[in-house]
Each structure stands twice: as C-alpha cells, then as structure tokens.
C-alpha cells in the first residue's frame, strides 16, 4: 500500500469534534473514489461509532482514525483504548438482531457495522482496539461469452490490466458458480491486484490470449489462493509452480486453497479436509494446503474432547506437535467473552474467532449464529487458535451451539487453527 493512499486524523473524544470526524470520513471516501451513496454510508458509520465512544470517554481521551484506499475499497479504522469498548457491548454489536429495539437504542455502534460491507474488530499489536469499517466501490458486472484461447506458446507472468479483465470473464464463463463472485466484476479484480492485497499470475501468449491464471491474497502469515483456472490444457502445473516461486520468499509461511479447481495438481499440496459451502446446491471441497517452510514443531493446547480429532489430523499430516490437554477445572474466567467476526457479504460467509474467553461464551455464540443467519450468511466458520491456551476451553460450547470440527489449518493463527463449521444446533 502506497503511503499517499493513507490519511490519518487524531482527535479528542468530544462531541464538538463530530463535524471534523464526519468531514474527514466523507472527504477521504470521496478522494479515494467511493461514490456519494457509499461515501455517505462510510461517513455515517464513523459518525455513529464516534458518538457512541464519546459517551464512554473520559476528558482528554482520544481516537485515531486512519482512512485507507485499498483500491477496490475504502477502509476507515478507528483506534481507541480497549476501555472504551466494553466486551459486552462489542459482542452485542455483531450478534444482536436489528429488531432488538432496546439494544438498538443504546448502540449506535450496531448501526455503524450494518452500514458497511465488512466490519472487524482487532486487538492491535500496540494494545489499541481497532474497529475497521470497509466499504467496497461499485463495479459493473461483466459476464460475456468469450471464445476459448487457442493452443500456443504461453508464458507465465503478472499480465496487464486488459488480460486480467479478460481472465476474470473467462473464469466465470468456464467455472460458473464454482468461482468466487468477485470474478463477475473484472474492474474490481484489476483494482484488487493493484491494491497489492492480491497478486495474480496469468498464462499469456504472444497475441494476448490468456490460457489460464491464478490469484492469491495474503491473510496474515498465510496466503489464500484461488484456482488455477485453466482455459488451455497443460498450464496448471506451470501456474502452481510459478505461484509457489512468487510466494517462496514472501511474508507467507503457508498457502491454503479452500476451493481448488479440478485441474489443481495435487502433488504440490496436502489435503486438509472437507468444507461444505452451503447454497442452493451442496458442494463439498477438499481444502488443499502447503507449507512454504520447514515445520519445526510447536506446543498446542487442545480440549480433551477434541484431542482425538486433532491427533488424527496431525498423524495424517505428519506434523510434530506437543499436545497439552486442556480441561476446565472450575477456574475463574472473565465474565464476558469477546469474539471477532469477519463478514464477507459477497460470499455470504462469516468467520468467527475469539478475542477473550469468558463465562458467557455459549450464549453469545448462540446470539452470533442467530444474527448471522438472519443476515443471510449461509456459511459460518469458527476458527479456534490452539496456539492460545484459553481458546480450547470454548470447544464444549462450540459443539453445543452446533459447530463441528472440519479440519486443522497448520500455522493458521498464533498456532494451528482448528476450523469448525456451523452444522446446526443440537
């Protein structure tokens, strides 16, 4: 991300600063390319959160707002002291039903999250709480019937903007609903790659034909890849090898492919397990995974009820782990849990994870699932980081709420992550 695409405002948490804050948000949205309607949504979200937090603030406390152009989106992050965001409030934010009038009355923050395309809450490295509001730009859907490319001498490189747009359309032509929805918007794909958050490689011949391609994005230390999408035979291995070469000395330590295509050369990756994308038709996918570095082992904390599942995964994947069995022995936990939720409305998918494990975890999780389902999110995952001691205590609650362990994603968080998928309550 280029530094000139980031602007920052630090302000006192005082109501007379509100015009400055909303002005900042709306101006940044406009300058970074959101249309008026979407810019207003982002401005209103920031306004709501500011008003809410001012009500909790003591004299002299501040908020830092950072607006960033991500190419295909504009994001405003609000950084405050964790004290200003009581855990109970934060859980309610994502979990509460929009019709809950009582809660709505006190929670401007809820409104704020509903106005944006993605919201996430992160405990930052420097001990601030970050509330991220993201609104995507609007793009035209372009789905055209294109001729398949001819046989030829294809080379693998980043490709130009027009090649990328052609590639996106051909992905939808060839793979239909099996491909991520963003391919329906070629201009968005170009901006996603331009933003630096995604990287693409294409097989292009001397005449500009695109024979296939791959795309990936960075998700912490893990790269999440899509494809390879193949329109001309014999390119899958070359694309996967090139992708691995590009990722080899990047910040990623592993690559995961949640929905590999049928052409994927399996001998470069390992199979993790099944995930089921729910929709009009049920589709199951074998998640593929690969480490980019040597695994020198780690300690993981596993609830006794999950131990067999985890051990079986480790044995199959030949992963060296010291498993410490975790069981609640009546010790005190904090009263309130705190969960983070990342919602992708395009893919109708939500991913929950824990920030704080408290005694109310089960009821909060039930609220979350109910709320997310009402919002039309058909696929709900819970990512349990077993590199963190306390998280494993959530396992009984997760099972009762209706989550089932699906697979272990090695090094997916601070340690390995057990991915649960919501399969319906007991």
């Amino acid at each position: 991300m280029e530094e000139d695409r980031v602007v920052e405002l630090r302000t006192l948490l005082a109501m007379d600063m509100l015009p400055l804050v909303t002005g900042f948000a709306e101006s940044a949205a406009k300058v970074f390319g959101l249309d008026d309607t979407r810019g207003l949504r982002l401005g209103l979200a920031v306004e709501e959160i500011f008003v809410f937090i001012v009500a909790q603030a003591r004299k002299g406390e501040t908020m830092r707002l950072v607006a960033k152009s991500g190419g295909y989106y504009v994001e405003i992050a609000c950084f405050v002291s964790p004290r200003l965001l009581p855990t109970k409030v934060m859980n309610k934010t994502a979990a509460t039903d929009i019709e809950d009038e009582n809660f709505l009355a006190e929670m401007g923050i809820l409104l704020a999250t509903r106005m944006v395309d993605r919201f996430k809450l992160v405990m930052e490295q420097d001990k601030e709480m970050g509330l991220y509001f993201l609104v995507e730009k609007q793009y035209s859907e372009v789905v055209a019937q294109l001729a398949m490319p001819p046989k030829g001498d294809y080379t693998i490189d980043a490709g130009g903007r027009e090649s990328l747009k052609w590639f996106a359309q051909q992905v939808i032509n060839s793979y239909g609903i099996a491909a991520p929805g963003f391919f329906r918007f070629p201009g968005k794909v170009v901006d996603m790659v331009d933003s630096g958050e995604y990287q693409a490689i294409l097989a292009v011949d001397g005449k500009g034909n695109v024979g296939g391609g791959m795309l990936w994005r960075w998700n912490g230390k893990m790269a999440e890849a899509y494809g390879p999408y193949i329109f001309q035979e014999g390119l899958a291995v070359r694309l996967v090898e090139k992708a691995l070469e590009k990722l080899a000395r990047s910040s990623a330590v592993s690559v995961v492919v949640r929905q590999p295509t049928k052409e994927f050369p399996r001998d470069y990756f390992e199979e993790l397990g099944l995930t089921i994308a729910e929709g009009k038709t049920l589709n199951s996918h074998t998640v593929l995974y690969r480490q980019l570095e040597e695994d020198t082992g780690m300690v993981v904390f596993v609830h006794s009820s999950l131990q067999k599942f985890v051990e079986k995964c480790y044995e199959r994947l030949v992963l060296p782990r010291n498993i410490i069995s975790v069981e609640c022995a009546g010790e005190n936990l904090v009263p309130y849990s705190l969960f983070s939720v990342s919602i992708d409305r395009n893919q109708k998918q939500a991913v929950l994870s824990a920030l704080l494990v408290g005694v109310d975890a089960q009821s909060v999780l039930i609220d979350y699932v109910s709320s997310l389902q009402k919002q039309g999110l058909s696929t709900i995952f819970f990512e349990l980081d077993i590199g963190k001691e306390l998280e494993s205590l959530l396992v009984p609650d997760l099972r009762i709420v209706g989550f089932r362990p699906s697979f272990v994603l090695p090094w997916g968080g601070q340690g390995d992550v057990v991915v649960f998928q919501y399969a319906g309550g007991e």
Partner: protein, 370 residues
C-alpha cells in the same frame, strides 16, 4: 506495564512491516523430541561432515577459558596478515566478519541508498535479497538459465541505480558455476560501473578444472569483491567467521560500515590455524564428497528421481510431492534435509553429502516416502 506501549505502526518503516522474520531451525535436541527420533543426521546446512582440520581442533582444545574475559582483535589483525601473505594482497584489503552473512550486509550498507537496487538470481542464496529488502533497497532477481546465473540477462537488468551485482559461484543450491573466461567476460562488460560480488562460499569444493580463483582477479578488476567463509570446507560453522577481499580503496569504503569486534577470538585463531593446513583436509573432504555424490546420483537414477548436481557438497532432488511434507517425513526417520521451496524450487530438497554409509541410510529412508 508501567509505560505506554510504543505506536509500532508509526515507528516501523513500511518495508519492515512487509517482512517476516527469519526463524532459524530449532536446536537438535528440541527437534529430536518434536519428531520423536532418537538420532538426527544433519543434511540441511552443507556443513563439512569430516569436521574441522586437526590444526583448528588443537587450537579449540588449547583455548584457555579465562581468555573469555578479554576482547578479541577488533579487526582480526593476525588473520588478515596471514590472508594477505597467502593471496599476495594487502592485509587491509580484507574484512573479516561474523560469518560471510555479516559481510553481505557491510557491502550493501556501504554502496546502496534509497532508490538503489542490487541484482542477483532468483534461485540462489537468499541473504543478498533479504538484506537488500530489509534495508529498503530493491533486489532485482534474474531467472536462472539452465540452472546457472544468466550473465546477459543480469547485464540487461542493470540501470543507473544498480550498485551491486551478486554472483554465487558455485551457485547454492544448483552447483552451477561460471568459468574464469565467463567471469572475466562479465567483468569486462560491467566495466567497473557496479560492484560485482562473487560469493565463493563453496569454491574450495570445486573440482572443475576451469573453476576460477576469484581472489586472483582482484588486482585486475577493482570493482570485484570476493566472499569466502570458514564455515563450509573448513568446518568452523559454529564459530561464525568469513571474510571479503577486494581492491583496497573499495574495501576501505566498505570498512566504514563494519561492526568491529564482531568476530570472537576463538574463531579468529581457529581460522588462522586452518590456513596452515597442508591441503590434506581439503583433499580428504573432496574425496568424500566425490564418492558420496557418485553413490547418490546412482541411487537416484535407480529410484527414477530427477536431480540437479554440480560443484559443492550438496545435491538437489526433485520429489513427486511437497518438499515440506518430505522434510517432516524424513525428520521422523532422523534425516534433516533442506526444503527448496524457499529457494523457489518447489517439491525439491537439497541434501548435504555425507559418507556413503550415512547416505545408504538416507536412501533407505527416502525409499519409504516416495
């Protein structure tokens, strides 16, 4: 916490944010416990399995523990004097570092500033690229051609902000090399416009008759800087000592960025001792590597596994599955290899050559996983 936590997002430069720290392998005892293996054969770091020459062993044994209280020579004075005698150049034309890795950083810091770039290959020793990247400079990576450095493509990548060209000769991990003629032709084309670093970490293993002695070219090419290490052939890896040599005026510029006193006294004295070796250690090592290489090549052909093998005490093997999975499976059987994805050779492993008796065990383990 009494003080306020520092605002890391503001304090840390953008190019550092993008970089993940290199996490070295865990100690052997930890790895053995993790993988449940009673023994561990290190085939990952291209160490010399024969061990240090007898002269160095003697120095290490005789080291008086109370000397640990005294600083070493800050610039490896005696070692540089001896290197100067051996190579017929001024002792001041050498800089000794805490392993050759340290002198890589010295050179890059001496010549590069914001906006500059270095050129090297895409599939070679990673540290040139890493040091440039975490220092905020561009590393231009030229694809190998037939597993070797591509001289024409490297020259084509040069622009007016190119300060250093790094050549690993022989290349780690492919073992390919430039002959003296090819190196001279390249230096002639560069024509002194950039610093050309030739990393000869594995030069002492080279058997090819036309393999160049970079040290002998320093007098002719003032922009040439040679790296050597005592970690590989001379088996002093644990002591961390290497050096660079070049034209004295160039080296004096590099010296401005040096951290003095970074090389400990035991390393300096052991290195000085290995220079007294009469060639027996090198000959013994070369014989072992030669025999082991032939055995391994033969076995790999029987197994139908493609390999890349050139100069140096290592061979790359192409596997029909992920190299990182192979690492884990081989570790369970006590064989630690180097995965090659990090060198941009996915599904390849690099194996350090041991005595044939050890290689037989490795082949048995390899057979069980393919």
């Amino acid at each position: 916490m009494a003080g306020k936590f520092p605002p890391l997002k503001q304090l840390v430069p953008a190019y550092i944010h993008k970089i993940e720290p290199y996490i070295p392998s865990k100690p052997d005892d930890e790895l053995k416990q993790m993988y449940g293996t009673p023994f561990l054969c290190r085939m990952n770091n291209n160490e010399n399995v024969i061990g240090p020459p007898p002269q160095a062993l003697e120095v290490i044994k005789r080291f008086a523990p109370e000397r640990a209280a005294i600083y070493p020579s800050g610039d490896a004075y005696h070692l540089r004097q001896r290197l100067g005698e051996i190579y017929g150049i001024s002792p001041d034309a050498f800089i000794v570092g805490n392993g050759a890795n340290e002198v890589i950083a010295f050179v890059i810091k001496a010549f590069c500033q914001q906006g500059d770039n270095i050129i090297t290959a895409d599939k070679t020793f990673a540290v040139y690229e890493w040091v440039a990247d975490f220092s905020g400079f561009e590393s231009r990576l030229v694809p190998l051609k037939d597993y070797g450095f591509d001289d024409e493509a490297m020259l084509a990548a040069v622009d007016d902000r190119t300060k250093i060209i790094f050549i690993c000769n022989p290349n780690n991990p492919t073992g390919t090399y430039w002959s003296e003629g090819r190196l001279r032709a390249f230096l002639d084309k560069v024509n002194g416009q950039q610093i050309v670093v030739v990393d000869e970490a594995y030069a002492e293993f080279a058997e090819a008759k036309d393999f160049p002695d970079g040290m002998s070219l320093i007098k002719e090419y003032p922009n040439l800087v040679i790296f050597r290490t005592f970690s590989k052939m001379y088996a002093l890896a644990a002591l961390r000592i290497g050096y660079l040599a070049g034209n004295i005026d160039i080296v004096n510029v590099i010296r401005r960025t040096c951290i003095v006193y970074s090389v400990n006294v035991l390393a300096q004295e052991a290195a000085l001792a290995v220079l007294a070796d009469d060639g027996g250690h090198v000959a013994r090592t070369k014989a072992l590597v030669r025999e082991s290489k032939e055995y391994l090549k033969q076995q790999l052909e029987i197994l139908g596994l493609p390999y890349i093998c050139g100069e140096g005490n290592y061979v790359i093997i192409r596997l029909p599955f992920s190299d990182t999975l192979a690492y884990r499976k081989l570790m369970r059987m006590g064989y630690m290899v180097r995965t090659m994805t990090g060198f941009r050779f996915p599904n390849h492993i690099r194996v350090t050559l041991h005595a044939v008796s050890v290689m037989e065990g490795f082949i048995r383990a390899l057979k069980t996983i393919i």
